[in-house]
Amino acid sequence: MGSTKVKVDHVSAYYGKNRAISDVSVEFEDRKVSAIIGPSGCGKSTLIRCLNRMHETLPRTRIEGRILLDGEDILELDPVHVRRRIGMVFQKPNPFVTMSIYDNVSVALRFNGRHSRDEIDRAVVRSLQQAALWEEVKDRVDAPALSLSGGQQQRLCIARALAAEPEVLLMDEPCSALDPIATTKIESLVNELKNTYTVIIVTHNMQQAARVADNTAFLYLGKLIEVGPTEDLFERPKERLTEQYITGRFG
């Protein structure tokens, strides 16, 4: 087991009075892909949204516990800074609709202060390459973001997140709104990304977890049931619940 990049330490998260995740503790390995799986309503989206402090952007929400990034508790830091180090790709692609492809990717750079036009150009190209989108858009980077297909838009969002040069990339069911071909493209992309970034991906598709993730965590009704290397979890699950979920006893 390599070093830990993100450590979730006895975290509970609430929507008003509802406790969505209870006392979850799990570690995510640096430069590996970790999947979070579980039936709908198990709290996996809530958990991942805690990791970049998006959970608290909704009204009447609360987090208890600690979330450590390289040993520092992000709940004590400025959320804006946290989100620059931990990026996110959402379930439904959400490019900025009034902006071009180029502007979408360069947005984060424009937040972080002065960059020369040159630097921004290079960063945009690099991010689009990392997101495997560059070849498809290189002669129309000024086209509106909405002119892209769904799968392309999602890769655009990945490029946009990567342009901010985060250390961790969170992906909340990134392929659930996409067709199978686009899904395959993104899955192979994830495989490449783990060389540079720590990737944590939420998915309701077990086969996807099996395909892309090094480690997998299984959540059920807000509790962490089991976590470990993907192969172990799927072939030799230690908990009965895990086994039931994997064999499809419940959805």
Partner: protein
Amino acid sequence: MDGPTPSAPISPMPRHSPQWGDRIFAVLVGLGGVAVLVIVFAVMGVLFYQSADSFHAFGWQFLVNTRWDVRHNVYGVVPFVSSTLLTSAIALLIGFPIAIGSAIFLTTQAPRWMRGPIGSVIELLAAIPSVVYGFWGLYVLGPYMRTTVEPALYRYLGWTGAFSGTPTGTDVLTAGVILAIMVIPTIAAISRETLIAVPISQKEAALSLGATNWETTRVAIVPYARSGIFGATILGLGRALGETMAVTMTIGNHDAVPTSFFSQGQTIASLIANELTNSNGPLQYSAIIEAGLILLFISLGVNIAARLMLWKVLRVERGSTE
């Protein structure tokens, strides 16, 4: 064995067939609908009819003549169109930033408990009658403009030539300022609606990139709401163009093209208010009506443009699943 013959139905029949009631209902209701359409055509019809004399006398000259000469019975609408446009422009220049600032403040920056109450209070601004604003303008704003604001403007900006003449507090500038006050709630309320209609996914995209609250507003929310804000402004313009009472009481009622912000002027609406029943003869009366017709067209045109713009924005957002 005889089965029961279905003679009378089990449930009681209504006293008259439903079709009859429905038909009457449709007619009555249709009358209401027709009335609405009739109003538009009636208004235009009457105004056209009454402005015929003026149109025959002056033709298209009416639109470019800068003289409104009662003694020689020669009339042109330019003085009033220019005052109308000038006061409305002032209203938008002052009102738009304040309205947008307020709308942005209320939808993104203000703490949640503040949003409802302050929003309601700003909407109360819209409920105050025009004549009350005019009254206040006459006794509070006007003197304030005359003693404080206008001398200062003359001191610092007099070199531009746009602030010549004695500051009286009763001029196009004061009228413009009052219009700004009246237009702010309209622009703010509708802008607020469009800002709220921005899908939350856009906001989350910005936040997830490490944007501050203000950066999120600037980059993700306001651009998305652009056309709605523009539509709101045009709607505000429509309101400013037709305002009568507040303007009549503060503009000075002088039938000439304003040459400075301190000039007395006369909008089409205030012209009608002042001179319709005091006209010196049928030609002037007809000319005033023709001016009213022009005002009607300008207002309707602006309103239609605004509604078309907003219709697209607001209906689409209401139907969005996000």
